[in-house]
Amino acid sequence: MEALIIQALTGLASASSLFLVASGLSLIFGVTRIVNFAHGSFYMLGAYLAVSLLALLPRGDPMWWWLGVLGAALAVGVIGTVLEMVLLRRIYRAPELFQLLATFGVVLIVQDLVLLIWGPQDILGPRAPGLRFSIEILGQPFPVYDLVLITIGPVVLAGLWALVRHTRFGMLVRAATHDRETVAALGVDQRLLFTAVFALGSTLAGLGGALQLPREAVTSHMDLAIIAEVFVVVVVGGLGSVPGAYLAALLIGQVHAFGILVLPEITLVLIFLVMAAVLVVRPHGLLGRPLAHARGGEAVAVLRAAGPRVRQIAWVALTAAILLPLAGSQHVVTLATEAAVFILFAASLHLLLGPAGLVSFGHAGLFGVGAYAVALAVKHWAAPMAVGLALAPFAAGLAGAAFGVMCAHLSGVYLAMLSLAFAQILWSAAFQWVALTGGDNGILGVRAAGWEGGGLAFYYLTLTLCLGGMLVLRRAILAPWGYGLRAGRDAPLRAAALGIPVVRLQWAAFAIAGAAAGMAGGLFAYAKGSVFPTYLAIPKSVDGLLMVLLGGIHTLSGPLVGALVFVGLEDVLTRATDLWRMALGLIILGVVLVFPQGVVGAVSRRTRDA
């Protein structure tokens, strides 16, 4: 019994830091309608900056320690303000997906900056002077610092509540959260309001990160780890609701604390199930309200089957791909194999993003399920390639279907956040369940005799399966099923009034896209001869998004072109610089700001033939 109470208290302490980060995200979303993926980066920066700041300040004095923590939080607030003014201001009117992607570009840039400044090793920050001891609660030792954290949560909640309820600033925040068009029409300076909210939100995230110093080591993984959990918290609490975020943080903190007690490996899965259960009962979260549709009409192009000119280009390209090994370079064949795999991966993601209108930020999760299915089958059953390649799409299709059941009825940002959390959970399963997956070391020796990755036979097999898979997806998009999906995306009420089973069609889209991504993942495993958790990590999902966006969402040939451009780009970048994440982040920002229609979209707008 005593142990349970202690565990509950630990859960409360975790809830406080979760709440600090989540409340900032929720405030920012409420007012600007942007889901800021870089919010986890603010959290991480808060921790790193606190380490550096505390190293400069006198040690041992509690006052300096707290001042250092506050200083780090304020510094993060300044960084957030600058980011808002330089970047976000330009994309408030952009399509949702571009906003999400732009903030993810920031995540990548910050990751490389952190590695550059603080290095790759974990850092242990100084603990709070005067609070380093434990007291006895019911005969069990409990860190005093955690007690302080437990009180900070409600204090911040009360402070935010007072700010939102009783100040002019708070009144504007509430008004903008409710209906920002009207607030703008009333002559409120939106730019100032947005910047102020962003400053406040990022300061809270920085504070959350800095306050973690005494509890855990500072690492460059903190950003994505916290953002996945925070997404779950704000979705469960209801986007835009600060008290909801607190309730949800309490709930998730407790699930976390007790999950670890029961079965550490499945804690994250447990959290996901809790969230799914909440969303079934309350689709907008505990205290959330349905979002007003505040989106300017996105220009939607008519999808067309390829015209004669595009067909000609396609035949030339296919011939080139078949003749490619004649060039004789091993590197080219390896690269072309990889490109083929990513063409199928991008095409499967395009099915969701484009025709189905489902924004997924966790598509690599399905890719990775395919890869691990192959690797596990080879490792444990010495499965032949035919079995492996049948298993990969099957397993990933099932995973896609399972995810679809939970999330197909959700819209826009909710889906983006949950798909990211879903992939992050798969990633931590692959990373932590060492007995099954080998953890960070991955699974090696994924081979089939005669079909070695980099070999000619495997190249042609991959080319056939991937291009074939892409053509099948294309065909389905131009079949009644694809039109039904687009109907649900273009005008959901009209689709329902025509008897179109939108949710079920979308659910099938998840399963089909999952199967295709799984096939790509399975082939990738054979191509590399090994699998690692990075295959299903979030950056891989973002690679996919970037491929689709480079090609353009509203074109059928987009994913193919996008994947080719991306693989070429990545090859050049990784060879040219160690800072490829930063380079990629800058490219993302460039694409979002310059080519909101994607490369193929931009070209076809000029030529009117794609």
Partner: protein, 245 residues
Amino acid sequence: MLEATDLVKTFGGVRAVDGVSLRVMAGEVVALIGPNGAGKTTLFNLLTGQLMPDRGRLAIAGVDTTGWSPRRLARHRVGRGFQIAQAFASMTVRENLQTALVARDRGLWRLWRRLASTAVADADSLLAAVELADQADRPAGDLAYGDLKRLELALALSNRPRLLLLDEPTAGTAPAERRTLMTVAVTLARRDHVAVLFTEHDMDVVFAFADRVLVLDAGKLIAEGSPASVRANPAVRRAYLGSEA
């Protein structure tokens, strides 16, 4: 064809629809009018399955349809038009109808056959009926609003409805366009013996096309009858002048 009994819907203590009962017969064209805030839209959303009634029953073609979803109602051959026309912007006009027709025939689960070669003749005859044949290959997103309203009407007719529910079918169109639009709708409905219930702000349209008029005020039906009798009804005059003048 449509029979609603004692429908009630409350929003936070306000009875938006307060015990409304109405019937529409097959082949009959009925207008639902009332001043702003009378509860027309709420009543309409109850009839189309967008909202669940707190109380009351709904029967269509002799089947109890209380609480049915819009999708299930569509399968029961109820057609509906939206106040703000909704079509599939990323498709051509013809593809819009092909999709609707394929959905009616439950053919959406085909993943291989191309839509392009499906239901072309039926789509074109519907387009001809709403006088939109010349726009068949244009993207629906590029249509002028009046044409979009026609497309909307064609979509609403695509499942061979026995009951057609039109929410302000002429809203947002030019006065000259309104008559042609309603003439097309009513002619097609009478030809196929469809029951029509429509809400409308333009009284000229109401009195020109409705067989019968229902007047809603403060969530209750306050009058019912032929256009002429409703026009002469003092309660109706009071409702309109009292709240709008």
